[in-house]
């Protein structure tokens, strides 16, 4: 089954001569199922929708290989149990005591906390909140979860693509730490925005005008003008994806060569 997922994703976790398909499955069977919790804070549900777009390939995985032990829409549970991994969607509202408490509790009860999506990772769109709105006018400030707790890994994106979620899940199950390293590094990237391209790439004489940032921008806030990214701040949601996809921000050479079979 794992082999099928990997084949679908074009991933090869281990060389064939080291581990046959049966052996991998056996290991998977013998391992205790990881207990996953889904914590939904201030996000639009886009991240869990992106996750669920993988159901074709992840259905067996989600039902047979992991236990979903907590989550508003995924499990009928009131008390937060102990978890191996807590996936957190959404930023945390400082004025919402329930969100703050749930986040703190998740940190206590989870082995690993993963910020799923840019709201949790960078604050993203919710950074623009000014408060004063209906129902909860005092809900004014929304911050990335790493402002309050230690985050082990982040998957930014608005939403993160179904593929990156699937690739990450597979890497977690295979213990493929090399693949996960960028996600671990990104846990510290909380102040994101289109201007990162200007400050950290263009101003640093690293931009080559390839256009990857403008291709990646999920709100089309970027144009290319005279071979350089030009940011329309009105459209930027501060998700960080432009900088993350830029080939001049970080360069995963080994993984790329492996994926291409070079």
């Amino acid at each position: 089954m794992i082999a099928r997922i990997k084949e679908f994703l074009g991933m090869e976790a281990q060389p064939k001569e080291v581990a046959s398909e049966q052996e991998v499955e056996k290991v998977a069977e013998e391992k205790a199922k990881p207990r996953i919790g889904y914590i939904h804070l201030s996000g639009c549900t886009g991240d869990v929708m992106s996750l669920s777009e993988n159901y074709d390939i992840l259905a067996p995985l989600l039902t047979e290989m992991v236990d979903i032990v907590y989550g508003q829409t995924l499990a009928d549970v009131w008390e937060m149990p102990e978890m191996d991994v807590a996936l957190v969607e959404g930023s945390v509202c400082l004025q919402d005591e329930h969100s703050v408490k749930e986040l703190m509790e998740a940190r206590e009860k989870a082995g690993l906390v993963v910020a799923l999506g840019s709201c949790a990772a960078t604050g993203c769109f919710t950074r623009y909140s000014r408060g004063g709105q209906q129902a909860n006018p005092n809900h004014e400030s929304f911050v990335p979860i790493a402002d309050l707790i230690k985050v082990d890994a982040a998957l930014p994106g608005c939403p993160p693509s179904p593929e990156i979620i699937a690739k990450t899940v597979v890497a977690v199950i295979n213990g493929d730490m090399d693949y996960l390293q960028p996600m671990i590094d990104l846990a510290g990237y909380t102040e994101a925005g289109g201007s990162d391209l200007q400050y950290k790439v263009v101003n640093q004489a690293l931009c080559i005008g390839c256009g990857t940032c403008a291709m990646a921008c999920q709100t089309r806030a970027l144009d290319m003008t005279s071979g350089r990214p030009e940011l329309n701040e009105d459209r930027c949601v501060k998700c960080g994806v432009c900088y993350i996809q830029c080939p001049r921000s970080w360069w995963p050479a080994d993984r790329i060569n492996k994926d291409l079979g070079l």
Binding site: I208, M224, Q245, W251, R255, I256, L262
Partner: protein
């Protein structure tokens, strides 16, 4: 391995007379894309097509052989082709996209395929990446300035530009002017100075004039996809081959220039690291092969 990993290296050129006439060298990129389109290996391609302004390319989604041929020939300035991938997939609804990329663009695409953080259902749509050799690139104003200042030619009268034999060549209808390539130094964009890749090491098939005689291209076939497409194109007679010269003006020159680009870049990378400036690549001391593109 300054030329990256490859399965095959050869000289090649398009057998199509029309492509031969309009292409920069052997017309490999044009011939391969036209062939792939005819064979439905791709259903469109992102190329550096013409814009309203002479010599200023515009990333374009080519849907026909005519569109592809309209983009033939090298433009020595920036064309952010990766940007247009989004349009190719979302607006044009292409499922199998071909793209022509210079090394840095190839790197952006490959990173996106391995780590598609915010790029939904795009990584699997890249059906063929044809990489072209690139020593450095010029901002449009740089190009215009040194053509008019050094060649003394009105930009609009230029019919072809070319780099070879250590010179920058400017062809007009009735004249060919050249000046040493050294004189273009200072006009290139700075981002190119840390680039470790001359030959698009991560493309499916890479092609360029370095190491090839006039009207031929030196081609490197790299990935399984590249191998399949290239073999089909050769078998179908769209591309003819001859062995690359191992000597001074062939493989030796390609290797020497690739190595020299890497060595220069490593010097800049090490200097930047020493100054505490960001650079995505490792310092010489941090890697096994000091010239690897890592």
């Amino acid at each position: 391995m300054v030329l990256g990993t490859y399965k095959q290296i050869t000289l090649g050129r398009s057998t199509d007379k029309q492509i031969q006439k309009i292409s920069q060298d052997g017309g490999i990129a044009t011939a391969l894309l036209c062939f792939a389109l005819d064979e439905k290996i791709i259903d469109g391609a992102v190329v550096a097509g013409p814009s309203d302004e002479m010599w200023k390319p515009m990333p374009t989604v080519a849907m026909t052989s005519d569109d592809i041929m309209a983009a033939a020939g090298t433009k020595y300035t920036l064309s952010p082709n990766n940007w247009m991938l989004k349009q190719a997939v979302r607006q044009y609804g292409l499922e199998k996209v071909g793209i022509v990329t210079i090394p840095c663009q190839t790197m952006g695409i490959r990173k996106m395929q391995s780590y598609p953080f915010g790029v939904r259902f795009m990584a699997d749509k890249i059906a063929l990446d044809i990489g072209i050799c690139c020593t450095e690139n010029f901002p449009f104003e740089s190009l215009r300035t040194f053509i008019s200042a050094k060649a003394g030619v009105d930009f609009d009268l230029v019919e072809k530009m070319d780099i070879g034999k250590g010179k920058f060549w400017v062809h007009t209808q009735d004249d060919v002017i050249s000046f040493p390539i050294k004189e273009t130094h200072g006009y290139e964009q700075n981002g190119c100075k840390v680039c470790l890749d001359l030959v698009s090491e991560l493309s499916d098939i890479s092609t360029g004039s370095i190491g090839a005689p006039d009207d031929w291209s030196a081609v490197q076939v790299r990935t399984d996809i590249g191998e399949t497409v290239f073999k089909k194109a050769v078998d179908a007679g769209a591309i003819e081959l001859k062995p690359i010269d191992e000597g001074k003006f062939g493989l030796e020159m390609l290797t020497r220039l690739a190595k020299s680009k890497k060595e220069k870049a490593m010097k800049v990378i090490d200097e930047r690291k020493a100054m505490g400036l960001p650079v995505p690549y490792k310092a010489s001391s941090e890697k096994e092969d000091p010239l690897a593109n890592v």
